[in-house]
Symmetry: C2
Subunit: 122 residues, 2 copies
């Protein structure tokens, strides 16, 4: 039987999932399909704050998925780009992203149906 699989808290894959399965990491990696500077990334991710973008970039860097390169000259410039490891995540993430795009209409109609229950009173 394979029936007694348990996802333990200290399972490394769970630890790593916690790092990348958030709303921003995926989008940052998508934006970094080509190397970009800090504010370029920020501009493309509507709603992200400077603070959170910095945190996300640091985490991705720590996990070996992107590199940070300070550009010579003034004013200061920093360029972020994918490592091979980060690029290898584009496959899985792309699949997931495509899935959401393909299914968002269906999902939204499910949501409407669900929200409709319990309140067609009077």
């Amino acid at each position: 039987m394979t029936h007694d699989v348990v996802y333990r808290a200290d399972c490394p894959s769970r630890t790593i999932l916690d790092q990348i399965a958030d709303k921003w990491s995926m989008l940052v990696l998508a934006v970094l399909s080509e190397p970009r500077r800090f504010n370029e990334i920020k501009r493309r991710l509507e709603g992200i704050t400077q603070r959170v973008l910095t945190q996300t970039l640091r985490r991705l860097e720590r996990n070996g998925m992107i590199t940070r390169r300070v550009l010579p000259g003034r004013p200061l410039g920093v360029e972020y780009s994918l490592t091979p490891l980060g690029r290898s995540l584009q496959g899985p993430f792309g699949e997931l992203y495509n899935w959401t795009v393909e299914n968002m209409d269906v999902i939204q109609s499910f949501q409407r149906a669900y929200d409709h229950r319990g309140e067609q009173s009077t």
Copy 2:
């Protein structure tokens, strides 16, 4: 040029990503590869609380990915199972999960290297 793609806050795919790109949804769907009861799921996801599991299940149900079925008889029993939509997510999620398993060693060594910088003092 495809260079000016911007991920807008009201993009449906972003809204949906916010729903499924969290640390528990993926694992719940994995556990539901076959229909299971509430406490079965809970037991297999070490560390999840009743409250959070309930919330996760409700959200997945609202999004049309799982169904909730009350079993006849007492004591009360409830069985959760994947819908076709939920099952179609297993592909993308499986890819992502496999990726983390395949790469967790590399990532952990990156993390150690990163954490090592800046503190080999004295």
